[in-house]
C-alpha cells in the first residue's frame, strides 16, 4: 500500500521479471504486461502512476500503446524503454506525451533518479489538486444534510461521540461525506474552539507527508530554508483529521502508532521533543480488514484508530434525502452563479431518484452544479441534468436502477468522447470503478 504503482510493459519475460524484482525491492507495487494489448486491459482495472513501456513489441507497438493510454489517462507518466537503434522513435514518443525514455540496459542510478523525479512531480500535482478540492469543499459542501433514518442515526452518533475525546475511524464510500462527519464531530467536541486540521494522507508521497505532519527545522534537508511547523503541531488543542488513512506507507504507520501512543514527536532534523494535544479522527474508503490480511496495514495501528467506528451510508441507501440535498445545492449554485433558478421539475427529480449515484453526494452536487449552468428557464429539467440522455428519459417505471446507471455512464462516456479520466471525474467515481462498471454493463464505444 502507498507504494508507487508501476506497470512494466515488455514482451521479453526476462526483462519484465528482472525489472519487476528490482522495483519491488525498491518498495513499489509492480505489475507486468507482455504486450500493448495486455497493458490496455490492465489499465482498465488499475490506475498506475508510472508505466515503463517497451517500444518494440510483437503486435501493438509501444508507440501505439502510448497513444491509447494517453487518451485514457493523460496524467500517467510513461517512460519509453528502448534499445540503441530506436532512440529517434523514443524522441518521437516524447512528442506524443511520453515523460522520458531509457536505453536498455539501464544504469540502476539513472533509473532510480528518474523514478524519484516522476514521484515528486506527481506529488506536486496531487497537492495542487487537493488544495483546490479542499477549497471547493469548504465553500460548497459545508453542511451534512439528511432526513433519512440512516442519517438521523449518524447525527445521533456524532452528538454522542463528539464530547468524548476518543479516536474515531470513519468508513464509507467516496463522496459520502466522511470529511463533513469528522468536522461535525469536532464541532460537537470541547475542542471546537481549537483548530480542525486536515491531512489528506493519499495526496502526499511518504517523505512529503512526513514533513507535512512533523514539520522541519531549518537545514533539515536541502529545501528547508526556514523552520516550519507540521500539522501535528498546528492541531494542538484541536482535532487532527487523517483522511485516506488506508493510503499511508508502512513507515508512516509505524510513526503514527508511536504518536498515538505517546503524543510526542520531533520535527525533521529537530532534537527537541514536541508534545501536542489533539484528538485524532481518521477516515478511509478502503477495507482495512483486507489490508491487514494482505500485510499492507498494521493491525496494532488499526486497533489504535478503531476505538469508535461508524460507516457513512451511500446515497443509494438514503434516496429519500435526494430532494433535500438537490434543493440545497440548487439554492447554493443559483446564488453563486446569480441565476434565477428556484425549482427542480418533477421529471428531473424522478430521474434523480431512480439513479444509483455511485459517486454519492459529491456526484449529486456536481450534477446540480452543471444543471444550473446549463438550464435556460427557472426550472431544472431532465435535459439539464448531464447524467440523463434524452432517449433515456422514458417513464421511470419502465427502467431498473441498474439500467438508469448503465445509460448514464454510457452518456457521459459519449459526451467526453470516451475520455475515462474526465468521465470518472464527472461521475464522481475513480477510474477503476468506472472500468468495472463498463465491463459489468458491457458498455461499448458504439453503444
Amino acid at each position: 500500500m502507498s507504494g508507487t504503482k508501476i506497470l512494466i510493459v515488455d514482451d521479453e519475460l526476462i526483462m519484465r521479471e528482472s525489472l519487476a524484482g528490482w522495483l519491488e525491492r525498491d518498495g513499489h507495487d509492480v505489475f507486468t504486461a507482455a504486450s500493448g494489448e495486455e497493458a490496455l486491459e490492465k489499465i482498465k482495472e488499475t490506475h498506475f502512476d508510472i508505466i515503463l513501456l517497451d517500444i518494440r513489441m510483437e503486435g501493438m507497438s509501444g508507440i501505439e500503446a502510448l497513444k491509447h493510454i494517453k487518451e485514457d489517462d493523460p496524467e500517467v507518466a510513461i517512460v519509453m524503454i528502448t534499445a540503441y537503434g530506436s532512440i529517434s522513435t523514443a524522441i518521437e514518443a516524447m512528442k506524443g506525451g511520453a515523460y522520458d525514455y531509457l536505453l536498455k540496459p539501464f544504469d540502476p542510478e539513472e533509473l532510480g533518479i528518474l523514478i524519484e523525479k516522476i514521484i515528486k512531480d506527481q506529488a506536486r500535482q496531487r497537492e495542487n489538486l487537493f488544495l483546490r478540492e479542499q477549497y471547493k469543499d469548504r465553500i460548497r459542501f459545508e453542511s451534512l444534510l439528511g432526513q433519512s433514518k440512516a442519517m438521523q442515526e449518524i447525527f445521533d452518533l456524532i452528538e454522542d461521540i463528539g464530547p468524548t475525546d476518543s479516536t474515531v475511524l470513519i468508513l464509507g464510500e467516496t463522496g459520502t461525506g466522511k470529511g463533513l462527519a469528522a468536522k461535525a464531530i469536532h464541532t460537537y467536541s470541547p475542542r471546537s474552539q481549537g483548530p480542525f486540521v486536515v491531512v489528506n494522507c493519499g495526496a502526499f508521497p511518504e517523505n512529503l507527508l512526513e514533513s507535512e505532519l512533523f514539520g522541519y527545522q531549518k537545514g533539515a534537508f536541502t529545501d528547508a530554508k526556514k523552520t516550519k511547523k507540521g500539522r501535528l503541531e498546528l492541531a494542538h488543542g484541536g482535532t487532527l483529521f487523517l483522511d485516506e488513512i488506508g493510503e499511508i506507507s508502512m513507515r508512516m504507520q509505524i510513526d503514527l502508532l508511536r504518536i498515538l501512543e505517546d503524543r510526542v514527536f520531533y520535527r525533521l532534523g529537530g532534537t527537541q521533543p514536541i508534545e501536542a494535544d489533539f484528538r485524532v479522527i481518521a477516515a478511509t474508503n478502503k477495507n482495512l480488514d483486507d489490508a491487514i490480511k494482505s500485510g499492507a496495514f498494521r493491525e496494532d495501528l488499526y486497533y489504535r484508530l478503531n476505538v469508535i467506528s461508524f460507516t457513512m451510508p451511500p446515497l443509494r441507501q438514503r434516496k429519500e434525502d435526494i430532494p433535500l440535498l438537490a434543493e440545497h445545492f440548487l439554492r447554493r449554485f443559483a446564488q453563486e452563479t446569480n441565476k434565477h433558478i428556484d425549482q427542480i421539475s418533477r421529471e428531473a427529480m424522478d430521474e434523480m431518484m431512480l439513479y444509483d449515484w455511485p459517486g454519492n453526494v459529491r456526484e449529486l452536487q456536481n450534477a446540480i452544479e452543471r444543471a444550473v449552468v446549463i438550464a435556460k428557464g427557472r426550472k431544472i429539467m431532465p435535459e439539464d441534468l448531464p447524467i440523463f440522455r434524452q432517449e433515456h428519459r422514458t417513464p421511470p417505471k419502465s427502467k431498473s436502477l441498474k439500467e438508469v446507471e448503465k445509460h448514464h455512464i454510457a452518456e457521459i462516456l459519449r459526451e467526453t468522447n470516451w475520455n475515462i479520466s474526465r468521465s470518472a471525474k464527472i461521475l464522481g467515481i475513480d477510474r477503476a470503478t468506472l472500468y468495472n462498471k463498463i465491463k459489468r454493463y458491457q458498455i461499448e464505444k458504439s453503444s
Binding site: S18, G21, W22, E24, F106, E109, M250
Partner: protein, 193 residues
C-alpha cells in the same frame, strides 16, 4: 518423529573467497539477524549463469540454484561470488535477493572499487558486511529504505555504501522484528540473546 525446522542462515562462498572475509561476514550476519549461521559452499561455480555477450553473470538463476540446493536446516542463504553480476534490464548489480524468499547473493567485484589491497582493507570488509545484511534483509521482506544511514538504504554509488551504517534504522528494525515474530510463530527461533 521430531519435526525439523529450518533456522540457520547459510553463507555460501562460490569460487575463491578468503576465510577471514567469510568469517567477518558471518559475524556481521549473526549480529544483524540473530539466527545461527554456518559457512557451507552449496554450489561449485556459476558458469551456468555466464552471459558471453555481456561478459557478466546473471544473478537470478544463481539465486534459484542456491535455493534449490539448500539443505533442510537452511532458513536463508547468502551466496558470495567474485564475478560481476547483472540482471537483464540493468547494467550491473552489487547483489540480488528473493524478496521474502530464501536466497540472496552479493558480488565482491564492484565493492573493491577504489581500494588498492582489498583483502587487507577494513573498508572493503565493511562494504561486504553491509551488502550481505542488505541483501539478506530483502529475504526477510525488507524493502529499500530512504534513511541514508540505514543498512536497507539503496546505494546508487559505492561511496554511499561507505557512508551508510551497519545498522537497521528504527523503522526497518520494527519491520524485521515483525518478520522474525512471524517466523517465531511458526516455531523458527533466533539465538537467545
Amino acid at each position: 518423529m521430531r519435526q525439523f525446522l529450518p533456522n540457520t542462515i547459510i553463507i555460501s562462498p562460490i569460487g575463491e573467497i578468503e576465510d577471514d572475509i567469510l568469517k567477518a561476514i558471518e559475524k556481521g550476519v549473526k549480529d544483524a539477524f540473530g539466527y545461527p549461521t554456518e559457512i557451507t559452499p552449496l554450489i561449485e561455480n556459476v558458469d551456468f549463469a555466464y552471459d558471453a555477450h555481456r561478459d557478466q553473470y546473471h544473478s537470478t538463476p544463481i539465486l534459484e540454484r542456491l535455493s534449490d540446493t539448500a539443505p533442510a536446516h537452511c532458513l536463508k542463504i547468502l551466496g558470495i561470488v567474485d564475478v560481476d553480476l547483472f540482471i537483464p534490464i540493468l547494467t550491473h548489480v552489487y547483489g540480488e535477493a528473493q524478496l521474502g524468499g530464501k536466497a540472496s547473493i552479493i558480488s565482491t567485484y564492484r565493492l573493491k572499487k577504489g581500494i588498492l589491497e582489498p583483502f587487507r582493507s577494513e573498508k572493503y570488509v565493511c562494504r561486504l558486511r553491509k551488502e550481505a545484511a542488505h541483501e539478506l534483509g530483502h529475504t526477510f521482506n525488507l524493502k529499500h529504505c530512504r534513511e541514508q544511514s540505514c543498512i536497507m538504504h539503496y546505494c546508487r554509488r559505492i561511496e554511499d555504501v561507505d557512508h551508510k551504517s551497519e545498522r537497521f534504522c528504527r523503522y526497518c528494525k520494527i519491520l524485521l522484528n515483525d518478520e522474525i515474530k512471524r517466523l517465531r510463530a511458526k516455531g523458527i527461533k533466533p539465538l537467545p540473546t
